[in-house]
């Protein structure tokens, strides 16, 4: 039984159908990536899984329970944590307060402290900025805070929406390195990316989404070497 199973999902914004009959699954321990161009429906998929959108059709199972239609805070509390596109940092709060909000639904204080330590080990730069207003950080640092904050919710499935968006190549390297480390220490990850080259490098399996439907899927390495993906997403000619 998969950790997350999405079955025949369709989602619309009013009359616009953004996702049509999409199915995917994420197994315990994997990094799965969902790649596709701008407007393909990647963010819509994540928003629907995390309960921000209600599907028109289809089911979403997380740890064997159907979660579609549940309010987003309930889904987050059940261990499915979404780092939204654009990071969703609380700009006027300090970095420390941002991290505290990550642990909002928990009250096992000793464990929270350990998780905080681990998150800060992953991102030493975040530790240097703890007392600073999060809005004053650079884009890369904000992305780090967003991921560190999500880790304080102790997610069983971490969903990242374009963590590399608008970041310098060096920072992107750091972020993907950490994504791999987080996964190595046991957290399952669903990664949405336009940066297919990087995403396919860290992921175990991948899905390719185009205009609202899933066109291809398979082991990440296989997709990375397929002609279609290379032409459309990896800039090969």
């Amino acid at each position: 039984m998969s950790l997350l199973t999405v079955n025949n999902l369709s989602v619309s914004y009013g009359a616009i159908e953004a996702i049509r009959n999409c199915s995917l699954r994420v197994e315990q321990g994997e990094i799965v990536t969902l790649i596709g161009g701008n407007g393909a429906g990647k963010s819509t998929m994540l928003r629907t899984i995390s309960g921000l959108l209600t599907p028109k059709q289809g089911t979403i199972q997380f740890e064997r329970k159907e979660i579609q239609g549940q309010p987003p805070h309930r889904i987050a509390q059940s261990g499915l944590v979404h780092v939204p596109e654009g990071r969703g940092i609380f700009a006027n709060l300090t970095v420390e307060e941002n991290l505290q909000l990550g642990a909002y639904s928990r009250n096992d204080h000793a464990e929270i402290r350990k998780d905080r330590e681990r998150a800060l080990e992953l991102f030493p730069r975040v530790r240097e900025r703890l007392k600073q207003a999060a809005g004053t950080l650079s884009g890369g640092e904000q992305q780090m805070v967003a991921i560190a904050r999500a880790m304080l919710s102790r997610p069983r499935l971490l969903m990242l929406d374009e963590p590399s968006l608008g970041l310098a190549p060096q920072i992107v390297q750091t972020i993907f390195q950490v994504i791999r480390e987080i996964n190595n220490s046991g957290t399952t990850i669903l990664l949405v990316e336009q940066n297919a080259a990087m995403a396919l490098k860290v992921a175990h399996r991948a899905y390719v989404i185009e205009v609202g439907s899933i066109e291809m899927d398979g082991p990440a390495a296989e997709l990375a070497s397929s002609d279609e993906v290379r032409k459309a997403y990896l800039g090969a000619h």
Binding site: Y13, G14, S50, G51, L52, L53, T54, P71, P72, H73, R74, A76, Q77, V81, H82, V83, P84, R87, G88, I89, F90, A91, N92, L93, E96, E97, L99, Q100, L101, G102, A103, Y104, S105, R106, N107, H109, I112, R113, R116, L120, R127, E128, L130, K131, A146, R149, A150, L152, S153
Partner: protein, 386 residues
């Protein structure tokens, strides 16, 4: 479709549990009460060292300042911390004021045969008054719940219009109430018919309210308000309210029930506004429909904007300033609005985040000091969840 609403009050148990844990971590109860005790002590000193209000204009002003601070700081929970835009705060104040006034006015008549002030300091009359203020707060809080519900679906301008409408509805409804029953004989012979509409003074307002409010009550309640507001702000519940203001989607991703936080903000703010209404009614001896109006609400909005969205001390300073200023400019009453408008425009240009932004006065000093001490040294990790 975007999910606008979600379950209010559900999984309250889980959240309450984590809040209780937080209080426990803070070393709750007794140490938390110290600031309140200090506040009440100050209130006592003020009360016994200054002349009674009927003999001193300054005492009257001091009472009004205290009441206005309660109103501004409570509105700041909704507008500043949670980022909703309410311009109906005077409506809650009026609901509390009328509720409290009718309890002491008719209660005194039934208990002691007249509406004359009864008993001395902390005498039976004082306790009836205190109970009436709490009742005013509770009725206002219920109104706050009802007005808070639209905030789940509406944002920005639309929510502002609903809250504005609420204040105006209260004003108009109060105008339609019946004349006051003026003595005990009339009250005893009253029939059901005379209670519809309720005898609250109509458009003339509710007058002849016994003037129980004094500096002791005002500043004790102010101390409680400030401590509650500050502890809320530095608690997990307060942080989650601020997270709603900052980014609703990210807040939900952290497990924050944004619907519940918005409604809670409205209820808490309305409660304190209602209590302040009780204080106000028993300070001046009258409360009238126009006290629920837009003009009054707007004064409090200006205070929260000037003081800084979320800064309790900033809003307190703004409340003092904007209450004293018109008194100093008495002769320029007609220019008051112009001065307000200018202040707002200057503020928006120079310091759009308000006087203090989200910070408190003492935090600004700390920041200065830290900068002076070392630049760029390692920051000691504070405890999460503390």
């Amino acid at each position: 479709m975007m999910r606008g609403t979600s379950s209010v009050g559900s999984d309250a148990a889980a959240v309450a549990k984590s809040e209780a844990a937080e209080v426990a971590v803070k070393g709750n109860g007794w140490t938390g009460l110290i600031p309140i005790a200090i506040g009440i002590l100050i209130a006592l000193v003020l009360h016994f060292s200054l002349p009674a209000p009927q003999r001193s204009y300054n005492t009257q002003i001091l009472q009004i300042i205290g009441i206005v601070i309660v109103l501004a700081v409570s509105l700041n929970i909704v507008n500043g911390m949670t980022g909703q835009f309410s311009i109906g705060h005077a409506g809650f104040m009026a609901v509390g004021g009328y509720t409290a006034a009718s309890i002491t006015y008719y209660g005194s008549m039934l208990l002691w045969g007249s509406t004359v002030k009864h008993g001395g300091f902390l005498g039976s009359g004082d306790w009836l008054f205190l109970g009436s203020c709490l009742a005013g707060g509770l009725v206002a809080a219920i109104a706050g719940y009802v007005v808070g519900l639209p905030s789940l679906r509406l944002r920005g301008d639309y929510l502002a219009i609903v809250t504005l409408g609420f204040g105006e509805i209260i004003r108009v409804v109060l105008q339609q109430t019946g004349p006051l029953i003026e003595d005990i004989e009339a009250l005893q012979s009253v029939g059901l018919k005379q209670l519809v509409p309720p005898p609250l003074g109509g458009s003339l307002g509710f007058s002849g309210i016994p003037k129980y409010t004094n500096l002791f009550w005002v500043y004790s309640i102010l101390a409680i308000t400030l401590v509650v507001a500050y502890r809320l702000k530095s608690s997990s519940a307060g942080r989650s309210m601020i997270s709603v203001r900052e980014d609703e989607i990210a807040a939900q991703a952290m497990g924050v029930n944004i619907a519940r936080q918005k409604v809670t903000a409205f209820v808490v703010a309305a409660f304190f506004a209602g209590v302040a209404g009780g204080l106000f009614a028993h300070s001046t001896g009258t409360v009238s429909p126009k006290d629920a109006g837009f003009q009054q609400s707007f004064d409090y909005v200006i205070m929260t904007v000037l003081g800084g969205r979320g800064s309790i001390s900033g809003v307190t300073l703004a409340a003092v300033f904007l209450t004293v200023l018109p008194e100093l400019l008495r002769d320029f009453e007609q220019y008051r609005l112009i001065v307000y408008a200018l202040l707002l425009i200057i503020m928006m240009l120079v310091r759009p985040q308000g006087l203090l932004g989200i910070h408190e006065v003492w935090e600004m000093f700390n920041r200065r000091r830290r900068k002076a001490e070392t630049s760029g040294s390692d920051v000691s990790p504070a405890e999460v969840g503390s």
